[in-house]
């Protein structure tokens, strides 16, 4: 499995508060190959967000092994994790999470700033990617001058800017009107066709259908995984 971007084995996550132990993820093993488009589904409280946080190096597992793009993300320091998030992962959040009062262009530049990319390259790349998501004429707009869909497209451009190994999207259409949601999903599909690996969390079946592979999580365990499942979902609709 040399071309596995994500290789998770026997991953558990337990939250401890005083005497209470809550098992959020128990014994998750999962491989995602380069170029896949995976949707992770599950009811709220199923542990899908926690899994996403661990995959995104925002949180560390209690036990188990997580190899991202050939690098073990087990017990790294805060700064090393920051570096991994910066270079290997592109985040797209439900609430867009753009910096307020900051232009679309500058928002896209932020990760390159942290990586110390040359100023000239920063500009060119940010402009190019905002063009890719169809916002060439909105470069200088701050988030409050953009629609939800436009803001999410800025966030996608930002996620792509460091050429990450994987794009992690957490309910990317959750806050967007349905017509704009389709536009956003079209961009994800286009990116996947261009070879980007995408992992997306959603609870909406019609959004999940854009993915090639669907993983169902329930009570901290993988319930179903694969294409067959997707076929069944399709038939249901």
């Amino acid at each position: 499995m040399e071309n596995s971007i994500i290789d998770v084995s026997h991953l558990t996550k337990i939250y401890k508060t005083d005497d209470l132990e809550t098992v959020v993820l128990s014994d998750i093993s999962l491989k995602i190959k380069k170029g896949e488009f995976v949707a992770i589904m599950g009811p709220s409280g199923s542990g899908k967000s926690t899994l996403m946080h661990i995959l995104g190096a925002l949180d560390l597992p209690t036990s188990g092994k997580y190899i991202l793009d050939g690098q073990e993300v087990g017990r790294l320091s805060d700064d090393a994790l920051a570096d991994i998030r910066n270079k290997k992962i592109g985040f797209v959040f439900q609430a867009y999470n753009l910096l307020p009062r900051t232009s679309a262009l500058e928002n896209v530049i932020v990760p390159m700033e942290y990586a110390g990319v040359d100023d000239k390259i920063q500009m060119d790349k940010a402009k190019k990617l905002l063009g890719l998501v169809g916002l060439t004429d909105r470069l200088n707009n701050p988030p409050n001058k953009l629609s939800g869909g436009q803001q999410q497209r800025v966030a996608i451009a930002r996620a792509l800017v460091m050429d990450p190994a994987i794009i992690l999207a957490d309910e990317p259409t959750g806050n967007i009107a349905s017509t704009q949601a389709e536009e956003v999903m079209a961009i994800f599909q286009k990116l996947n066709e261009d070879g980007h690996t995408i992992v997306m969390i959603t609870h909406e079946p019609d959004i999940a259908l854009h993915a090639k592979r669907i993983i169902h999580i329930k009570d901290g365990k993988i319930e179903k995984d694969g294409n067959d499942h997707k076929q069944k979902l399709l038939h249901k609709i």
Partner: protein, 407 residues
């Protein structure tokens, strides 16, 4: 991240809540401003005292009456009547005192003086002709008090330049005019050259009259308020002090030095005391100013902590996008340093303006030391680091998922 971008970002963030930023800065402005103003005032008054004392002459001893102790009760210092004309004469004629060149007995007190419609309350100093030499006085016009004036108990007066101006207006030569001191008419015979100084000890705001006239006609007193002694040589000051001291003790029939009813101060004694007083004053005021600076710093910390809490989600996002701890720390430290530094600059400007106003009002020297300005710059930036450090650390140590979830 580059410094220019850090600064740009920090200014943008500080500009969001201008009122809050302004108020937080105000604490530093007041703190730095008062430090600059008060330290400068202290330095200036120290310099004024020093130059004033230097202008009197450096081989000068001053004998002043001390507290009188009779039957075990000590009277108030300075108000005593223990120095007499006879003491002065005895010092003059003594053979045991070899180091004193000139003896100048003096009686001074404040009286109301009028000239035409103008009037002033000023120091009247009864002197002998030798005063001019002992106190290094020069005249811009007219002549000083003569021996004839003294023996004839003439009603003549020599005015200090400030007094002359107060009574006759600027640019008017009062020599030959008459003034009324305590209701008695005096003829102005001279005006002294300005020596500088301010306040109670202003040597320019004085009227000199013959000692005999002062004692008998104006104040009706038989004793002296001081005797100024000019030593033959600056090196002999200590010897002179001892010779005069023991001589007067003998004359006053006092055996224990601790019971002495007079004090002899040399120029260096006075200088030391005066600058000690000024120094204590300056350091006390600076202490108060430093406390206000500390309070300002706490205000900065408060604002920065508030800002960190408000921007928890932003910090979480920045961390998710790859910001390292030191990036977050430098972001918040830049903000607090800009706050305190610009507060410092405004404070320095206001402090200097305040000090300028003070120097105009009190007619003292306007000298701002570069050292105090540099120190103020350093202190204000230092406060930014000191009080910005904890909030910045707090921001940098936020866990990204906790911060992203924060509502």
């Amino acid at each position: 991240m580059k410094l220019t971008k850090l600064i740009k970002g920090a200014i943008r963030n500080l500009a969001i809540n201008k009122m809050r930023t302004g108020l937080a800065m105000l604490g530093i402005v007041i703190g730095i401003g008062s430090v600059i103003a008060l330290v400068s005032m202290g330095e200036s008054s120290k310099m004024a005292v020093a130059s004033q004392i230097q202008s009197i002459g450096s081989n000068l001893l001053t004998v002043s009456p001390g507290s009188q102790s009779s039957s075990g009760v000590r009277g108030a210092a300075g108000g005593a009547t223990t120095l007499t004309n006879e003491d002065a004469d005895a010092i003059k004629t003594s053979t045991t005192i070899t180091t004193i060149k000139n003896v100048s007995p003096e009686y001074s007190g404040r009286l109301q003086v009028t000239a035409g419609r103008n009037n002033t309350n000023t120091q009247i100093v009864g002197v002998e002709p030798v005063y001019q030499e002992v106190r290094k006085l020069t005249l811009t016009s007219g002549a000083f008090i003569t021996t004839q004036n003294l023996s004839a108990m003439s009603k003549v007066a020599v005015l200090g330049p400030t007094t002359a101006e107060d009574l006759f207006g600027e640019g008017v030569n009062p020599v030959g005019q008459s003034i009324r001191i305590n209701g008695k008419t005096f003829q102005v015979i001279g005006v002294t050259k300005s020596k500088g100084g301010s306040g109670m000890q202003n040597q320019d705001d004085r009227i000199y009259v013959p000692l005999t006239t002062a004692q008998k006609q104006l104040f009706g007193k038989q004793y002296l308020t001081s005797i100024a002694l000019e030593a033959t040589n600056e090196k002999d000051m200590t010897t002179a002090q001892n010779q005069v001291g023991y001589f007067l003790l003998g004359r006053h029939k006092i055996t224990d030095v601790a019971d002495a009813d007079f004090r002899i101060m040399s120029q260096s004694d006075i200088l030391e005391t005066a600058s000690q007083v000024a120094g204590t004053f300056t350091s006390m005021l600076s202490g108060v100013a430093a406390i206000s600076l500390l309070v300002g710093g706490i205000g900065i910390m408060n604002i920065m902590l508030m800002s960190v809490t408000e921007r928890t989600r932003e910090i979480g996002l920045r961390k998710a996008l790859g910001a390292k701890k030191k990036t977050i720390i430098s972001q918040f430290l830049t903000e607090s340093i800009i706050l305190t530094f610009s507060g410092g600059i405004i404070g320095i400007a206001l402090g200097i303006i305040g000090f300028y106003a003070y120097s105009k009002i009190s007619s003292s020297a306007f000298v701002v030391s570069a050292g105090s300005v540099l120190l103020a710059f350093a202190v204000s930036a230092g406060i930014g680091v000191l009080f910005g450090w904890y909030p910045a650390q707090k921001a940098a140590n936020l866990q990204p998922i906790e911060a992203l979830r924060y509502e």
